[in-house]
Amino acid sequence: MIITLSWLKNHLSTSANLSKIIDKLTGIGLEVEGIKGSQGELSDFKVVKVLKVEKHPNADKLKLCDVSLGKNKTIKVVCGAANARNGLITIYAPPGSVIPKTKMKLKVAKIRGVESHGMLCSESELNISDESDGIIELKNREKDIGKNYFKNKGEKSIDISVTPNRPDCLGVRGIARDLSSSGLGQLKKQPQIKINQKFKNPIKVSIKKEKNQGCGIFGSVYIKNVQNKESPDWLKKRIISLGLKPISAIVDATNYVMYDLNRPLHAYDADKIDQEIIVRNSKIGESFEALDNKTYKLQNNMCSVSDKSGVLGLGGIIGGNRSATELSTKNVLLESAYFFPSSIRKTSKILSIDTDAKYRFERGIDPDSVKLGLELGMCMILDMCGGEASKLSIVGKIQDKRPTINLEPEKFLKVIGFSMTIAEIKKILISLGCSLKIIGKKIKVLPPSWRPDIKEDIDLIEELIRIKGFDKISLVHPERTRSKETLSFKQKLFHLSQRATATKGYLEAVTWSFTDSRIDKHFSQGKKAIEIANPISSDLNVLRRSIFSNLIIYLKKNQDRGYPDLSLFEIGPTFFGNKPGEQQIILGGLKSGVANRKSWDSQARNIDVFDVKADSVKTLTELGIEEDDLHISNKTQDYYNPGRSGSINLKSANGPQLAFFGEIHPAIVSNVDLKEQNVCGFEIFLKNIPEPKKKHRLAKKNYSVSEFQKSERDFAFVIDKSYKAGEVEKLINEVDKDLIKKVLIFDVFEGGNMPEGKKSIAINVTIQSMDKTLSEKDIHEVSQKIINIVKAKTGGTIRS
């Protein structure tokens, strides 16, 4: 909502200056978004006098004018207008100014070899009217030469962001009322209107009684024998200050009233109305050409203002071209109506129309302003265009749904924290337009008809503190106490795993929860895409099923920037359905490239499955799971390289899924077109990490270490390739839990002189007793057991 100081002062007597008004507006919830105008483009245009006109030496149609800027200052301007002549007073745009119509910035330029300092303007160039034939001719303005043409335009306009609960402040008067209520001046009384209205409105109006009727009240007045014309300067300037274009006196008058009182009006050329006005629900298939020159096809139940020939316009949204007023219009029907917000909202949404009227009606127009609006609009038209007005005709009536609210002053204290006297409450509410009845300590309040937002006592409390000032509330310092843990177990896991992963060299990324379906499908195990109905772009069209979908896109982008060796991770939601809650938190990491690339002392090597295995296993143990409880198998998902990936489950192959790790499937890597094709990843499923019954510190076994000598023995077994190293390791571990302290696989060898289908595994076993130094014999016995069990379970033989 844009207001100017002078317009505001039509409604408010105040001595406050602009900056005081701005501060107050913001202080009472009418946030000032910006101030425009003082340095604005329109203050550049000056009233000037053409002193002498000569023919341009190099062009027949151009003239060379000596132009007086007043104070004996004269410049030369090249002009093409036929009406440029000696003694003409017109408007001049200096170099540096911006022409409103073309948005072109002027500079000193040579036109056909002659320098021109700026230009003389037509009305069309200044957006004053469509008149483009010749430059503006001003009469009786000799005294203004050298001054700004747009005087009020030099005035600053204040852009106010009005919240959706305050339709009344979409009119200058509403803003003036709020300011006056807050003590910044006196709200002026609306002038009484007395017009001689003798004849009856000849156009019959009816609101059809039907379900979902969107119109409650339809007021109209018929004005005959008008002479439509351009608006006078003062009105044009106000219309321009709103950012609108002046059209004609009749249309400008309706716009003026809309912005003045938040009371939309509509003017019809009465001669174009076929017999009568019927406000009714539209039928599917009906259509009309609106004032924006678009043809709208209507559906059922849209509130249409019609005549015998069909739809004229959509009530409260937009009028139609068929009944539009023109400069030639002789007879006018002026409409001031009440349309229900829900109907306006529904229709405008379906048809995607946004107009000033629609914006106001959907927020709620004062139903009691029908008459005042008609009268004000009528007076303006009669003033500017002459003519004679009929009696007002107002059909329809709406139920007054305003509640009477019981306000208890203690409630204000209870919510806000300090008390307000009944006298002050009364003063504020009355100044806002409420009617009050005070019975003892109770106050009965009837809100004004222009405040559809006030429905209950809390709304009044808000009004009271808003006008009183939020700065009056004294703050209560918070108590530093805590009765509940800040984080739940799962939340702690989230934060711990995040930092645990970062300590392993991964950079944390935060990417969208949605992704490109073409990438997501690689990681979704064949499951259906979770589509967004209205995606922001076609490559962000689904909710991600996998944490890898976006990570791999950004891995590629970083590789394309020239960084092949990357470690990225994200912790966040992935989705498995489109219902609330069908999501889980996944920690996913991707790694690409080479370790020790270009190192002076270490051998470069491709990062591989064992890098991400280390990262996932280490992270899981940091999250509190015993390494012995991590069951590792090669049962993974189809987006991993099947031979180079693993699964980590809790305790057994069928235990809860803790993680996957491995090389990303080469087909995906090539499909995504990664430059550095060596890509590994891991995923940790936080929801499957069980909350321990006891805290880790309480669950720890008692500290005990052996004081006796330990022995190490190396074994090399030749076993079937099908046996996993981890299985052999586990077998040995279980041979003697007391004596075997550690089992370490330190070499694996296949091929060479190994028999087909066999491999050699070298294992280092640490043997130690808690209560004695083991003899050679004891150690030999354990070793023999190890050899026997491995042989029995796997058929593996000890290598000689």
Partner: protein, 351 residues
């Protein structure tokens, strides 16, 4: 007789450990002269034997001492010689250590949680996919409310019943429905609006706060936010103003501005002649309490919501919101935080 002086002289002249070892064998070994002398002791008379033995032992000790001391000398000089030769160029690059980073959003969430933990808030969560009811209707924003226009919503179905939450406020409803008052929660989370340009991202992060109890007033709201803002920006003096505003789910509603000044193009929060809006808040609307099965006659309180990304931008001087979500390795490295940098109250929120 052993010529002690000559022997010691030889020991002192030994050039290396091997030579010294040979001398040791020669002077003190089985066949050494001194050993021969000891062997002869048995044939001597007792008196003479005693004196002779004492003198021999003395000589042996002197030789041993000389050898040991020479050994130490030689060892020292050998190490020194070795050190002379054994030199590396320490300006060569060190071996790589992994160097990961925490995203600024995560870091700021940790900071905020730490601050609110101190005054008894706990962290609650809710799903990113929400019902239209929880996101709007239950929050006193009925279907034809124009406030819905301010939220450009992503929908997951044609009927517009399932959506991506446009704010973290629906978690208020979920939290209240799943428990009994009092409620004292913060809710950091992802939120979504289908709006994308230089200053808007289709996904961003919000922090919701909710405190409901028997007698929580707007004064408590002011105190809570005053505490938070000062702690978060780590400044003691900070200007803050509450401006009346409108949110359907709170009443009275306010927007909160903090003072700042510009220094070399960077925003310095605290005092200054400019105001910056950082959050919206208010007293929870009775209709919201009713919808969440909390009796508004018995309980009341406040709620607030703020943009986490924006707070991170302000505190850490990040200019571009969209860069948060582009996972640019260089950006993450520059603006990311060391994982050891865990915000705590007693060690300080940030370095």
């Amino acid at each position: 007789m052993v010529d002690l002086r000559e022997l010691i002289q030889k020991v002192l002249q030994a050039k290396n450990k091997l030579e010294l070892q040979n001398l040791k064998t020669q002077f003190l070994g089985k066949n050494s002269q001194i050993n021969q002398e000891f062997k002869k002791l048995g044939s001597l008379a007792e008196d003479e034997r005693k004196t002779r033995a004492a003198s021999l032992n003395n000589e042996k000790q002197k030789i041993t001492e000389a050898i040991n001391s020479r050994f130490k000398e030689l060892e020292k000089s050998e190490i020194n010689q070795k050190l002379q030769k054994d030199k590396v160029d320490v300006t060569l690059p060190a071996r790589e250590r992994p160097n990961g980073k925490i995203h600024p959003v995560s870091q700021v969430i940790d900071e905020i949680s730490s601050i609110f933990s101190e005054i008894g808030f706990s962290v609650a969560e809710g799903p990113d996919v929400e019902t239209e009811y929880n996101n709007f209707t239950a929050l006193n924003t009925p279907e034809d409310h124009p406030a819905r226009d301010m939220h450009d919503t992503f929908y997951l179905d044609g009927n517009k019943k399932i959506l991506l939450r446009t704010h973290t406020s629906p978690v208020q409803i979920r939290a209240m429905l799943s428990g009994k008052p009092p409620f004292k929660i913060i809710v950091p989370g992802r939120t979504y609006r289908c709006d994308s340009d230089q200053t808007h991202a289709p996904m961003f992060h919000q922090l919701e706060g909710l405190h409901i109890d028997k007698d929580i007033t707007m004064g408590h709201l002011k105190g809570c936010l005053d505490y938070f803002v000062k702690e978060f920006f780590e400044v003691k003096k900070l200007q803050m103003r509450f401006r009346p505003s409108h949110f359907p789910f709170t009443e009275p509603s306010a927007e909160v501005d903090i003072g700042y000044r510009l220094e070399n193009g960077r925003i310095i929060v605290g005092e200054g002649d400019k105001w910056l809006e950082i959050l919206g808040c208010g007293m929870v609307h009775p209709n919201v309490l009713k919808n969440a099965k909390v009796d508004p006659k018995k309980f009341q309180g406040f709620a607030f919501g703020m943009g986490i990304d924006r707070l991170a931008m302000l505190k850490y001087g990040i200019n571009d919101l969209r860069s948060f979500f582009e996972a640019d390795y260089r950006w993450l490295n520059y603006f990311g935080f060391d994982p050891l940098d865990v915000p705590t109250n007693y060690r300080g929120l940030s370095r």
